[in-house]
Subunit: 255 residues, 2 copies
C-alpha cells in the first residue's frame, strides 16, 4: 500500500515518458484506434500522452478532479464507483484492457466517479482537448468514438435491467457470463479466469451484500455449475449459466 498516496502535482513519470503506441498495442482492435488505417493510427499516436502505471488500490482519478484526459486500459483491471451525499457507494463498472475510462466526465469538466486499479495496471493517457482537435481531421475516429460512448450507454442500461428486474441468482450468472465473454474477446479462456475484485466489490456492483455473494458462490459450486478456489473461477456449465443469465432457464431455482 505504500504507493496509495497521491501526488496531484507530480507528473506521471513512473516509467519515464514512454510514449504509447497504438499501432504496436495488442488492444488496438478493441480500443479507440479500432478500424483506423495506418496513417490515422499514427496521428492518434501523436496525441496520446505517456503511459501511466497505476498500482493496485491506487486511484487513477477521483470524483471532482478536473477532467483533462480519457484513459485507455493497457493491461490490468479497474473499478469505477460513485459516492452520493450520504456516502453510499455504487460500483458502476469493472474495466479491463482495451476499455476506456472517464467518458462520464466530459459533461461537467470534472470526473464524476473514482477509478481505482484492482491490480497493478497500466493506462494510456488521452488528452481530451487534443482528441477533439483530431476529430476534425479523422472522421473515422470521431465515428468510432461515438460508438464507444453509445456502447457505454447501452452497457449501463443492461446493468439497470439487472439491478431493477433480476433476482440474486440471475444477477450473479449475468456477472459471470459477462466476464467470460469479455475475456474470450481478448483471447483468454472464457471458462477459467481469476476474479480481480473482492466479494464485496462484486456485491456492491450487483446490489447485493457480501454474504449473499458468498452464498451464491457456494450454491453455484454445490450445483456443479462452477468451481471456485479463492478468486479463481472455472465455469463448468456455461450453457446453464447463460440460460440463468438470460432468464430462459427452465428448472425452477431451488435451495
Amino acid at each position: 500500500m505504500s504507493q496509495a498516496i497521491h501526488f496531484p502535482n507530480s507528473a506521471p513519470v513512473s516509467l519515464g515518458a514512454i510514449k504509447a503506441s497504438c499501432a504496436a498495442c495488442s488492444m488496438h482492435q478493441l480500443c479507440l484506434p479500432m478500424g483506423l488505417d495506418d496513417a490515422d493510427i499514427n496521428r492518434l499516436d501523436q496525441i496520446i500522452g505517456s503511459r501511466r502505471r497505476i498500482n493496485r488500490d491506487e486511484r487513477l482519478y477521483a470524483m471532482g478532479e478536473p477532467f483533462r484526459s480519457l484513459y485507455a486500459v493497457r493491461y490490468g483491471h479497474f473499478k469505477t464507483y460513485q459516492i452520493n451525499a450520504a456516502g453510499e457507494q455504487q460500483i458502476t463498472g469493472f474495466q479491463m484492457a482495451g476499455e476506456l475510462l472517464g467518458m462520464d466526465a466530459i459533461s461537467g469538466d470534472r470526473y464524476h466517479c473514482d477509478a481505482v486499479a484492482l491490480e497493478d495496471s497500466e493506462v494510456c493517457e488521452i488528452p481530451f482537448a487534443r482528441l477533439e482537435e483530431l476529430f476534425g481531421h479523422v472522421p473515422t475516429l470521431l465515428r468510432h468514438f461515438h460508438r464507444i460512448m453509445s456502447q457505454e450507454i447501452t452497457r449501463e442500461q443492461n446493468v439497470m435491467l439487472l439491478l431493477g428486474n433480476m433476482r440474486a441468482e440471475q444477477r450473479f450468472a449475468v456477472f459471470l457470463v459477462n466476464l467470460s465473454a469479455r475475456y474470450a474477446a481478448r483471447g483468454y479462456s472464457s471458462t477459467e479466469f481469476g476474479l480481480r475484485m473482492s466479494r464485496e466489490d462484486i456485491g456492491n456492483y450487483l446490489g447485493l451484500t457480501i454474504e449473499s455473494v458468498s452464498r451464491l458462490l457456494s450454491r453455484f459450486k454445490k450445483q456443479g455449475w462452477i468451481e471456485v478456489d479463492k478468486r479463481e473461477v472455472k465455469l463448468l456449465d456455461p450453457v446453464k449459466l447463460k440460460a440463468i443469465a438470460a432468464g430462459t432457464d427452465q428448472c425452477a431455482p431451488m435451495s
Copy 2:
C-alpha cells in the same frame, strides 16, 4: 386508449412536413443547439428533419429497427425501455421536452430500446448522418453533443446507484425530486406537476412493484410530505423529500 394500436408501416405524416426551427423553439437553451450562435443555429436548422407527432401510447421507434435519427422532444413525454430475452422489461428513462432520444443506438446502427409516448407529443427528427457532417463544420455543436452523451452516462450511473443501494422510500423520493428539478428547469412549478406515467411505469423504473409504489404514495401522503390526487402531485415538504432522497434524513423511517 384508442391510440394504443401501432401502425408500424404508416408514415408519420400527421402534420405534413413542417420543418422544425431551433431558433424559434422554446427548448433551444436546453436542447442540442445550446450555446450556438445564430449562424450555427441556422446550419443546424437546415439539417433537422420534419417535426413528427407521436400520439399517446404510440411508439417513436422500436428495438432492432435500423438507426437513422436521433429525436429531440419538442413537447410531451416519453419512456424508453429495454426488453431482454426472457421478456423482462426495464424502463431506462422518462424523457421530457428538450431531451434527446436514441443515443444508445449509435453503437449498433439499431435502436437498443423502445421509445413510447406517454401523452400526445412532438419530436424533431435529427438525421444522424447529417448531424455527423455538421460536426466537422461546427465544433461547438460537436462539443455540446459530447456533453449530452456524457450527461446521459452520468444520469444512468445515478440510476444504478438508486437501484443498487437505496430502499424503496429513498428511491421514490429521488424520483419525485428529480422530476421536480427538471420541471423547474423548464419554467414549470417544481412543487406541483402531473405524473405522466402509470404507477406501473414508476415501479418498473424504480425496481419496485406497482403495489409498493402505491403504498409509498399513500405513506408519503399520510406523512404530510405530498398531496396526491390521481396523477397530480404536490410536494408539500420539498426539503424533507430532498433529505430523504440524499439519504441525509435524520428521522428514522417509520411505518
